[in-house]
């Protein structure tokens, strides 16, 4: 009834459409520059790489780099989604290890250190994803519904799941994996590994989802100002738990990629992965406080880490020094990001 009584006031003079559009363009530019802060760094790395080793600027090398970081990329997407809602999950690295381990263990014969049940490979893949689902749902429920601290709870889960992974095979490696199981990590499609296609699709879809879907925007709102999100009628808890589940599924899928790539599942698959994941996300401008950062930023973070790793290997730095160099690069990248204003932590 009140609608009819409302008469909108007239436009204010002095406000031109052209002026608004000009400002519009500028702000969108600024927003993009914030996200692509790492692009110049990547260009510099490409130049350095070209000087260090002629093998660097070859298609074969880039495909190799992409394949090696495909699994990492998928987990970075997973962690980014959770970080955007203002939470985090350390146990993704254990899901990444445990899920393919259990799957492989159930489908491989005793000659390959399996359990000997020799289940159908497709069933094994289903198990991999199922474990991701269960772990994600459990973490989400405990952290969101029961209010456990995300850090300490998922740290405990990390230790527990990694322990199970090692325990069921007594520390041994499971091998002789069937082709169906390794397809994702080992096969090529139009000259590019399937895992790279899949991770690329995951990045693209998640970026589009975050940008163009209501739930994607809700994720930003939740991380940016939980109270405001609640007041706007967003189902904060439901979305957060959903994100935990999706993230664990992605981590399980990433584990499957790695298993296929190395044609085996080791008892330590996933160890220390989470540090790389956080490094890539934070370098890429994903705020640890939630609500800030874009998928394209996270992608540049992954690419940067992968290139650094590759250049260090190609320049024949002693392998013992690679970790230290990695750490240093991360610090420099953080400093740069801070300067440009991506990460305001």
């Amino acid at each position: 009834m009140s609608k009819s009584t409302v008469e909108r006031p007239v436009d204010r003079p002095g406000q031109t459409i052209a002026g608004t559009l000009r400002r519009h363009g500028r702000h969108i530019m600024v927003n993009w520059i914030r996200e692509l802060a790492l692009l110049p760094v990547i260009v510099v790395l490409l130049v350095i790489g070209a000087f260090v080793n002629p093998a660097f600027l070859t298609t074969a090398n880039f495909i190799n780099v992409a394949q090696e970081s495909a699994a990492l990329g998928a987990v970075v997407v997973a962690e980014t989604l959770i970080l955007l809602t203002g939470k985090f999950d350390l146990s993704l690295q254990s899901t990444y290890g445990l899920a393919p381990m259990v799957g492989a263990w159930l489908i491989v014969g005793t000659d390959g250190q399996g359990l000997g049940t020799n289940w159908n490979p497709f069933f094994g893949i289903a198990i991999v994803l199922l474990i991701g689902l269960i772990v994600g749902a459990f973490n989400g429920f405990m952290v969101i519904k029961l209010g456990f601290n995300a850090f300490i709870f998922t740290l405990a889960m990390l230790i527990l799941l990694a322990g199970i992974q090692e325990g069921i095979v007594s520390g041994r490696t499971v091998y002789h994996l069937p082709d169906e199981f390794t397809y994702l990590g080992a096969q090529y499609l139009i000259g590019v590994p399937v895992s790279v296609w899949v991770t690329g699709a995951i990045f693209l879809l998640s970026a589009l989802f975050l940008r163009y879907h209501r739930v994607g925007r809700a994720i930003y709102a939740i991380g940016g100002n939980t109270e405001a999100a609640r007041a706007a009628g967003i189902h904060v808890d439901r979305i957060r738990i959903g994100v935990f589940i999706v993230a664990s599924l992605l981590a399980a899928l990433a584990g499957l990629m790695t298993a296929g790539e190395v044609d085996a599942v080791t008892a330590t698959q996933g160890n220390n992965l989470i540090f790389q994941v956080f490094a890539a996300a934070v370098i890429g401008g994903i705020s640890l406080d939630g609500g800030r950062g874009r998928m394209v930023g996270a992608l540049t973070g992954v690419i940067l880490l992968a290139l650094v790793q590759n250049i260090l290997i190609l320049s024949q730095v002693q392998t013992f020094w690679i970790d230290a160099a990695n750490g240093l690069i991360i610090l420099i990248a953080l400093g740069l990001a801070r300067l440009i204003g991506t990460e305001r932590a």
Binding site: S2, K3, T5, R8, R12, R214, R217, A221, N225, A228
Partner: protein, 522 residues
């Protein structure tokens, strides 16, 4: 019963928001006691009352955050929906809270259309449509704000505009503004008033909550006064004199003997201990503009102001918690190290902070340790501190303040609020300060604890300590020898001699011209 007989244009306006005989209790406390309120379309309705009068509870009921125990809420032509139905509440009523409900990492357009469909939906966001619709909302209502800016880059005023735009774009025609001017500067406040006038002209009904009564007179058509959970007055603004408004807020409580009691005036010292000249402090909540005053030994100066008036900011600046933009703070003639707490502490300043939980004590440490935290240097030699020395000092303070505790080792976190506050004050006094700065030292404590806290601070004053007491609690002010009233960052009035007239004092604290509140004063 609901609306007092007053005819006029107000009565014919359709109502956009109505609370009828609403009751609400929280445990033992009756927060609202048969309160009725009606806001008509195109009306700006002021809601005033001292802290704890029930304003927040009423707002929570009107916005569907809590359910009244009894009574009816209607929004426009509809009865209030169930609490779970947030979407309907949002469509009917919107509240701009003091706390920002804007998501900083999103653009203005997104914040306006937060969680609402703009395109043909299926959950897919049509950015172009959202931007142009947000731009349309801005143009329609005359807000000049680029919808592509990130909310984090906006000023407080602009964020408020975003929230108002959000409310209006949902179609809500009942807008609640909860202390909208608290963190705005003067020009921004004027622009807000202009916006309110424009909204009123478009048939939006506004419930305007403010501590500043002058604002009520400026923008509101009617005003309702709550006191202790009851509606004591509701009338057109034009029909009610300011002194009656103040009286309605304060009540007719007889002045207590303690308040009239004239504290000993020991203004003997020629040289003031604390001198503040032309202090400017920028701050989001409570900026300070050009404040000058001084405090002498044996004097207790009360700095009276509402939240956001800048009175607490002055205290923060004196103890070194914030760095002033300009101006000088001198202690015994020497300028203090601005922005350094340790330095001012060494110069003999101690501090009773406003937020005792955050800055007052360490809950996991014992009473004795908390009391002596600030004098560890005096209790120790070469870094090794003396436990017996500490216990001696602490025991003295426990006795002096009457702290009820099972022993010096009891964790402060386990004490009652009043005793916790005594620990905080005791810690400040342990150092025998030359200047004690206390911000709302008795907030949230019971009457007995309040008495002993004030007595202890009074005793320190009599012992020659200069005291700067920042409070808006009239009871606290009885130990003051002089009062300075702050409104919106400036000192507007000084009371040199007790007793103070309650009504006049409150009128000036609430931002009314002191002269116009003379009706009640002697």
């Amino acid at each position: 019963m609901l609306e007092p007989v007053n005819g006029g244009p107000v009565a014919v306006r359709p109502s956009v928001g109505l609370a009828q005989s609403v009751w609400k209790a929280f445990g033992e406390t009756q927060a609202l006691h048969d309160v009725s309120l009606e806001v008509g379309a195109g009306e700006c309705h002021g809601l005033v009352g001292r802290n704890g009068a029930g304003k927040s509870t009423l707002v929570a009921i009107l916005t569907g955050l809590i359910r009244p125990d009894r009574g009816v809420v209607r929004l426009g032509a509809e009865t209030a929906p169930s609490l779970a139905d947030r979407a309907t509440w949002q469509r009917l009523v919107a509240c701009v809270y003091q706390k920002s409900m804007v998501v900083p990492s999103l653009t203005v357009a997104e914040n306006v259309f937060l969680n609402r469909a703009t395109g043909d939906d299926h959950g897919i966001i049509n950015w172009r449509a959202m931007r142009s619709r947000a731009r349309q909302v801005m143009l329609d209502w005359g807000f000049d704000l680029d919808v592509n800016r990130l909310a984090q880059d906006l000023t407080v005023e602009q964020r408020q505009v975003v929230e108002i735009a959000r409310a209006l774009s949902v179609g809500a025609r009942f807008l609640i503004l909860d202390e909208p001017t608290a963190s705005l500067e003067k020009a921004a406040i004027e622009r807000l008033f202009e916006r309110i006038h424009r909204l009123k002209g478009s048939g939006v009904g506004i419930l305007y909550i403010s501590h500043h009564l002058e604002e009520i007179y400026e923008v509101c058509d009617r005003v309702t006064v709550l006191r202790d959970g009851e509606r004591v007055l509701s009338a057109p603004v034009g029909e009610i004199k300011q002194d009656r408004l103040v009286e309605a807020m304060v009540g007719f409580a007889p002045q207590r003997e303690t308040e009239i009691a004239n504290p000993a005036l020991v203004i003997a010292s020629a040289r003031p201990r604390l001198e503040i000249s032309h202090l400017h402090v920028p701050a989001t909540l409570g900026p300070v503009q050009d404040v000058s005053f001084s405090v002498s030994p044996g004097e207790c100066v009360g700095l009276v102001g509402l939240q956001g008036s800048g009175s607490a900011t002055v205290a923060d600046a004196v103890v070194g918690l914030v760095k002033p933009a300009s101006g000088e703070i001198r202690l015994d003639g020497k300028p203090i190290h601005t922005g350094r707490v340790d330095a001012t502490l060494r110069q003999g300043v101690t501090y009773v902070p406003e937020d005792r939980h955050a800055r007052g004590f360490v809950p996991y440490l014992g009473v004795g340790e908390n009391l002596t935290l600030s004098i560890l240097d005096r209790l120790s030699n070469w870094g090794i501190f003396s436990r017996s020395g500490r216990d001696r000092v602490a025991a003295g303070l426990v006795e002096q303040l009457g702290i009820v505790t099972s022993g010096l080792g009891q964790r402060v976190g386990q004490l009652s609020g009043g005793n916790q506050q005594k620990v905080v004050v005791g810690r400040a006094l342990a150092r025998h300060p030359t200047l004690l700065v206390a911000v709302s030292p008795t907030v949230g404590v019971d009457v007995a604890a309040k008495e002993s806290l004030l007595n202890v601070i009074g005793a320190a004053r009599d012992g020659g300590t200069a005291v700067l007491l920042v409070s808006d609690d009239l009871e606290d002010l009885r130990i003051c020898t002089r009062l300075l009233v702050m409104v919106k960052g400036k000192i507007v009035k000084e009371y040199r001699q007790p007793p103070w007239d309650r009504h006049e004092l409150i009128a000036s604290v609430e931002g009314l011209e002191p002269a116009s509140a003379q009706g009640e004063s002697e």
